[in-house]
Amino acid sequence: MTTMQRGFNTATGWMADLGRGAIFLMRILFSLPGLILKPRLLIEQIYSVGVLSLVIVVVAGVFVGMVLALSGYRLLVGFGAEEALGTSVALVVVRELGPVVTGLLFAGRAGSALAAEIGLMKATDQLSGMEMMAVDPVKRIVAPRFLAGVIALPLLTSIFCVMAIGAGGGYFVGVDMLGVDAGSYWSGIQSNVDFGEDIINIFLKSGVFGAIITWVAVYQGYHAPPTSEGVSRATTNTVVIASLAILGANLMLTAVLFGSH
């Protein structure tokens, strides 16, 4: 088989996978209305993928905010513009780093856990058992996890942004350690961060990222070969594919949302 044939086969394999993934996504979307009757399933999953991801998001937010303030201060102080530190930290975090870094953390923490959990359920016949009890695993297992991811990631992203900009992160380094004026720090943020353009857009971005990550995770888990190697590969694939997909989607969303400015 020539290199060209192998490349063609790989490409058609990817396309087939994408097609199967799209059909699976449609099944999930059609299953979502059923969750109205079973809100407890959704709440449990929001706790599992959202609340349990809080620690890593908070800690990462604090450190990212501190690093941004440190490096931003060194740059700005050369131009005598250190009063713009709050603005620069806030815009970088809100527009780019917040959704992307939280998405990557979410893919590593919650995405991998979802893929492993569903993959193991398949390997131990739990999904088959449900089907035999006339319970659709897509409705009972997959749909609540998918929706929980879409809801949880925007909330986690906003917590990340608050931690990065606020008293624990950028503010602590910029104002408390480096002596930037607190009033300038906050007023710069207030006058330059637009609610309609920036805040709404981070919710849009992170909502899309949440859908991508959980879609990849539940698809990989649900279609994993029922072996330990299969589950392991599904977990790895989830983190790799979801991370790359987030970075690609971020470029497209940024071009659409902020491209005209």
Partner: protein, 281 residues
């Protein structure tokens, strides 16, 4: 009226059959599992499917329950063509079936009690108090009422299968499929399980399919037996007819003999040749 017991040459026919398998051909990848298999599962009887490991006994249960579809041939459950049912219709049929998986297939994040209550909560609107009573009755039947607070990870393999049996009968199905129910059971549990399968079948008027390679136990409770190997039905009949079978294959299988038409070793190159070619894996 009780139907006549089936004979070796004439498997149970038509309305007496809850399940009819006709000309089923099934492959997994390039491996042929079934080639034109015909068999019937008579209503109200315990039908055993026997054969050595890897002959596709569990596959047959998955074909009957519609989890997998045959490449050729048909599977009918109570007159309905299983492979042609919509998902909703298939799920309606499955509410009439219970299946005991070889692994138990218990939901690991639920306790024993909640596992047995699961199908009741999903498919009925019974008050929680009534669900509790039903769950305790089912668990009492399998001897695990006292273990209701335990989680699947705290159960032995045999106990997990007994919990799975309690769950399989929770909705009082018309047919139960048992996949290797005797594996991993201690002698006491084995005796109780044998009696329970027989009693459930007779008292509740169920139809039972027992997939097993435990010859003594299976022939002891089955009304009719199919012996499968190499993708085909080798023999079928009442347990006595199977014991008296003239097939060398069946005799080797039921008497667990090492020598006979069924090879113990997987196909390969001669042993001596393999040892002499030390460099090859």
């Amino acid at each position: 009226m009780t139907p006549e017991p089936p004979t070796l040459d004439k498997p149970p026919q038509t309305r007496d059959n809850l399940v009819e398998v006709r000309g089923v051909h099934f492959t997994i990848g390039s491996r042929v599992i079934y080639k034109a298999v015909d068999l019937d599962i008579a209503r109200g009887r315990i039908t055993a499917i026997m054969g050595p490991s890897g002959t596709g006994k569990t596959t047959l249960l998955r074909l009957i329950s519609g989890q997998w579809r045959p490449a050729q041939g048909t599977v009918h459950f109570d007159g309905a063509h299983v492979a042609k049912l919509s998902q909703n219709d298939l799920f309606e049929q499955r509410k009439r079936m219970g299946m005991l998986f070889q692994s138990g297939a218990l939901l690991t994040d639920l306790s024993v009690f909640d596992n047995v209550a699961f199908p009741l909560r999903e498919h009925t609107k019974l008050p929680e108090r009534l669900i509790r009573d039903i769950v305790l009755m089912k668990l009492e039947a399998v001897g695990l009422r006292g273990a209701r607070a335990l989680y699947p990870a705290q159960l032995s393999g045999g106990m997990a299968r007994r919990v799975a049996l309690a769950r399989a009968i929770a909705l009082d199905p018309e047919m139960i499929m048992y996949d290797e129910p005797f594996a991993g059971q201690d002698p006491i549990s084995m005796g109780v399980l044998l009696r329970l399968i027989r009693r459930l079948n007779d008292v509740l008027g169920l139809t039972s399919i027992v997939v097993s390679h435990d010859v003594k136990e299976t022939l002891g409770i089955a009304d009719y037996v199919y012996v499968i190997s190499d993708g085909e039905v080798i023999d079928h009949g009442t347990p006595q007819q199977i014991r008296d079978s003239r097939s060398e294959w069946v005799q080797q299988f039921i008497h667990a003999e090492a020598d006979g038409p069924v090879p113990f070793h997987y196909q390969g190159t001669p042993y001596a040749e393999d040892l002499l070619n030390g460099s090859r894996r």
